[in-house]
């Protein structure tokens, strides 16, 4: 692989891996706190999947950039501005409704993302990985969609909470579909699909589910962004101090 294309692949892997790691960490915060025992099994299971995706992607990134010797170094030992995840995934969980709505938005996006990578990707290992990742993200999307409908179409209170969640997450959706110079380069090189190209499929599915839950589809306007450049929101610092604690306090510790 040429140097510049190695840089592209590294950065591209990092963006997806960071999204998965950070949402995985947020989701894991529900362990022991979910509203029912079943959800207390479901959410950590999903967190495990998301962190597993991140781990595999970090491993691929390490093969490309020898500055990083293993996936732990990427996951736990970078500084805040070196993480390239979306602002959407780093926000605090809020209530259960807000958590499942964000999971629904993100996993539905990733489902279509991996579906496109499966069809076309110049990086063979990622193309192979996408076959499995597509199946798992589809399952997450289905799980979360059921809760969005159940809560939206539930009581006045649960509907209100879901409407609040929609308003709460709305400012962060623009970034999810934002193309930039980097995503354009990835697309031109048949590496990754452009985020905006996923919008129509995503909207069709999300709109139908929200409608079933008597909920309004949010406005998708680019309001808050910066995650892809490493500019994060306040919540992220607290998250990182928790996420990185073990590796910072006990360097190179392992299970």
């Amino acid at each position: 692989m040429k140097n510049n294309s190695a840089d592209m692949v590294f950065e591209g892997l990092l963006r997806i891996a960071d999204d998965n790691l950070i949402l995985g960490h947020r989701t894991s915060e529900w362990c022991g706190h979910a509203p029912t025992l079943e959800e207390d099994l479901a959410l950590p299971n999903i967190a495990l999947d998301l962190i597993g995706h991140a781990q595999t992607l970090y491993c691929l990134a390490c093969e490309i950039d020898s500055r990083y010797k293993n996936e732990d170094q990427l996951a736990f030992l970078r500084l805040e501005h070196e993480y390239k995840n979306l602002l959407l995934v780093e926000q605090e969980n809020g209530d259960f409704g807000n958590t499942v709505l964000r999971l629904f938005y993100f996993s539905t996006f990733m489902k279509y993302f991996w579906e496109r990578v499966k069809i076309k990707c110049c990086f063979k290992k990622l193309k192979e990985f996408s076959e499995k990742a597509f199946l798992e993200t589809s399952y997450h999307s289905k799980y979360a969609s059921q809760w969005v409908v159940t809560l939206g179409d539930g009581t006045d209170e649960s509907n209100l909470k879901m409407s609040n969640a929609i308003a709460n997450l709305e400012p962060f959706l623009g970034e999810l579909f934002n193309n930039d110079d980097f995503t354009e380069m990835c697309s031109q090189n048949d590496f990754l699909p452009e985020p905006r190209s996923i919008f129509d499929s995503w909207k069709n599915e999300v709109e139908a589910i929200l409608q079933k839950g008597n909920l309004d589809f949010p406005a998708i306007i680019l309001k808050k962004r910066g995650g892809r450049k490493g500019e994060h929101s306040e919540a992220f610092g607290y998250l990182l101090s928790d996420l990185q604690y073990m590796q910072r306090a006990y360097p190179n510790s392992s299970w």
Binding site: E38, E39, N45, G52, L135, K142, Q146
Partner: protein, 160 residues
């Protein structure tokens, strides 16, 4: 099976899954290929789930088993084709049912991703009057059901 790897397959045949200890890796279809390149033996495994925490234990088990016959293998993970519940052997399905886990449906467009359309049989009393409690059970590869006749909860192995 590549010629000259018979001995390795034989050594690994009885290794069990850390999370489903009544099943062998062979029952689950996790070991996909053993090859010999210039210097090393390469064992390819297909994880049931990408984030399955049993994978690192499986890798350690394979390595330590082969070490006993003087081989240090390279273990590679493969996601293409993705591991499918169709790769579980007949014998594996039977053992699963005996253990109280409802085995996965054969994979097709309706069942993939553990669709709600298919009936799930209670492994305790064989009733089909069952309902899904949660998409996620005690491990990533299972969902949680309950039987409406004998009232017992049980795990159902997801169809993927």
């Amino acid at each position: 099976m590549e010629k000259g790897t018979e001995k390795l397959w034989d050594v690994l045949k009885d290794l069990t899954d850390p999370e489903l200890p009544f099943l062998t890796l062979d029952d689950l279809g996790v070991i996909r290929e053993i090859k010999r390149n210039d210097k090393n033996h390469v064992v390819t495994i297909a994880p049931t789930y990408i984030g399955c925490p049993a994978i690192s234990v499986i890798e350690e088990k394979i390595a330590s088993e082969l070490k006993k016959i003087g081989i240090s293998p390279i273990i590679e993970k493969s996601f293409s084709p993705p591991w499918s519940s169709d790769w579980i052997s007949e014998n594996g399905r039977k053992k699963m049912e005996d253990f109280g886990i409802s085995p996965p449906h054969p994979r097709n467009t309706e069942t993939i991703g553990d669709s709600l359309l298919k009936e799930v049989k209670c492994p305790q009393c064989t009733s089909y009057r069952t309902e899904k409690v949660s998409e996620f059970g005690s491990t990533a590869c299972k969902s949680l059901y309950r039987c409406l006749d004998c009232k017992e909860p049980f795990d159902h192995f997801k169809c993927v």
